[in-house]
C-alpha cells in the first residue's frame, strides 16, 4: 500500500519533473528566439538595451512559452532543417503560381480561362502545424486557396481553374508530410 502510493507519487513527481523540464525547454527556446529577434530589431548593443531585451524576452517567454512550442519535442531541429529545404521549393512554386495568375489576369478573355470550383480531399496529416503549413502552401500556390482545413486532415480548396485543381494534393502533400515526419 505504502510502496504503491510512493510509487505513484514518484511517478507523478517524475512526470511533473518531465513536464516541468519540457516547459522549461520550450521556455528556454522561446527566450533564445525572442532575444535573437530583439537583437535583430534593435541593432544596438547598449548594455541597458540588452538588459531590457533580456527582460522582455524573459517576460514573454515566461508568460507565453506555450504559444510557440506547446509541447516540447526533440524533433524540432530536424523539422527545421527539413523545412529549410522545403522553403526554396515552395518559393519556386509560388513564383510559378504567380505567373500563372498573372497570365489569367491579363488575359483578354479571362472569363473563358477560369473555371472556379471547390474541391475537397482528405489527407492523413495529424499534427496541426503540418496541416497549417499545407493549407498555407496551398493558398500560396497556383490558383488555389484553402477554404477550410480541419484537424482530421480534410481540406476544402477553392481552385480557379481545372489545371491548378488537378495538381492537388499531389507532390506538395508529400513534401509537407516529409517535413513534419508524417505519413502521406
Amino acid at each position: 500500500m505504502n510502496s504503491l502510493t510512493k510509487e505513484v507519487a514518484s511517478k507523478k513527481s517524475s512526470r511533473r519533473t518531465a513536464t516541468f523540464f519540457k516547459s522549461f525547454l520550450s521556455f528556454f527556446l522561446t527566450f533564445i528566439l525572442m532575444f535573437g529577434t530583439w537583437l535583430v530589431l534593435s541593432g544596438k548593443f547598449d548594455p541597458l538595451l540588452l538588459w531590457l531585451g533580456g527582460l522582455s524576452s524573459f517576460l514573454i517567454a515566461f508568460y507565453f512559452y506555450d504559444l510557440l512550442f506547446p509541447a516540447f519535442e526533440s524533433g524540432y531541429a530536424v523539422t527545421f532543417i527539413r523545412f529549410s529545404k522545403y522553403a526554396p521549393w515552395l518559393i519556386y512554386e509560388i513564383m510559378k503560381a504567380n505567373f500563372h495568375i498573372l497570365k489569367i489576369v491579363f488575359h483578354p478573355r479571362m472569363k473563358e480561362l477560369i473555371d472556379p470550383h471547390i474541391i475537397t480531399f482528405k489527407t492523413n496529416l495529424k499534427s496541426d502545424i503540418a496541416i497549417t503549413t499545407l493549407a498555407n502552401s496551398i493558398t500560396l500556390t497556383p490558383g488555389t486557396i484553402t477554404v477550410t482545413a480541419t484537424s482530421d486532415g480534410v481540406f476544402k480548396v477553392h481552385a480557379i481553374d481545372r489545371e491548378s485543381a488537378e495538381a492537388l494534393p499531389g507532390i506538395m502533400l508529400e513534401k509537407v508530410a516529409h517535413v513534419f515526419g508524417e505519413d502521406v
Binding site: 522561446t30 528566439l33 525572442m34 529577434t37 530583439w38 530589431l41 534593435s42 544596438k44 541597458l48 538595451l49 531590457l52 531585451g53 522582455s56 524576452s57 517576460l59 514573454i60 517567454a61 508568460y63 507565453f64 504559444l67 510557440l68 506547446p70 496541426d128 502545424i129 496541416i131 497549417t132 493549407a135 498555407n136 484553402t146 477550410t148 482545413a149 480541419t150 484537424s151
Partner: protein
Amino acid sequence: MRLIGFIIVCICGGLLLYGTSEFPDWGDPASPASTHLSNDYIEKAFDQTQVPNLVTAVLADYRGFDTMFETAVVFCAGLACLLLLRDYSRKKERFYRHVPTGVILQVKHPEKKLPVGTEFEYMDKDWVPSDLIIKNVCRILIPFIQIYALYVVAHGDFSPGGGFQGGVIFGSSLILLAISYNLRTLVQRVKEKALGILCALGVLVYVGIGALCMPLGGNFLDYSALTRIIPWDPHHIRAYGMLGVEIGVGIAVMAVMVVIYINIASEGRHDEGL
C-alpha cells in the same frame, strides 16, 4: 436637417477657408511655426536630453506634462469602458460540449459548473469550431509581435514609436489571441484583475517618476533631479527618465486596449465575444 447641416458645414468651411488666406505656404521653412519654437527644440533638445528622437524628447520631457495626462486619458477610457459595460450578473444558461462524443449539454442552473478540461469544453452560444489555420499561424506570430512591441517601447528614444505605440501593439497581440482562439482563452490567460491593476500601475509609474522628482528638489517631472539617487550625468538621466515614463505608458496602454476590447466584444460579460 440635411439642409441645416449642409449650411452649418459650409459656414464652418468658409470660416476656416477665410482663415487660411494668410497661412504660410505648405512646407515653408520660414513660417512662424517652423521658426519660433521649433528651432529651439531641434537645436537644443538633443544636447539637453540626449535623445535623438526629437518627438520623444519633446513628448516625454518638455511637454511631459501633456503626455502624462494623455496617459491618464487612456486609463480613463479603459476604466470608463469597464464601468459602463461590465456586467457581473451571471448568465442564466451555459453550453458545454462533451469532447469525445460531441454531445452538447445545456446547463440552466447558473451555479452548476462542469469541469472544463479534457472531457468537457465550454461553448459560446454562437459557437464555431475555431479555425485551425488561423489559430496556428497566430500562435506562432504572437510572441514575435510581442517582442516587437516591447522593442518599440524600449526604443522610443531612437526610432519612431515609444510607449504608446508599443503598448497598442502589445495590446493588439493579445487581442489577436482572442480573435484567433476565443475570448475566453484571453480572459483566462490575462486575468481581469491583473489588467485592472496594470492600467493604473502604468500611469502610476509615469506619475510616480514625475512625483519622485519633487522630494528630490526638482519640479514635477524634472527628471534631472533623479541624479540625487542615481548618480549620472543630468542629461543622460533625462533619457532614462523618459525611458521609464515610456514603459509606464506602454503598460497602461496595453492593459487599456485589452480591457476595452474585452468589454466591448463581450458586452462586459467576459465570456464570449468576437
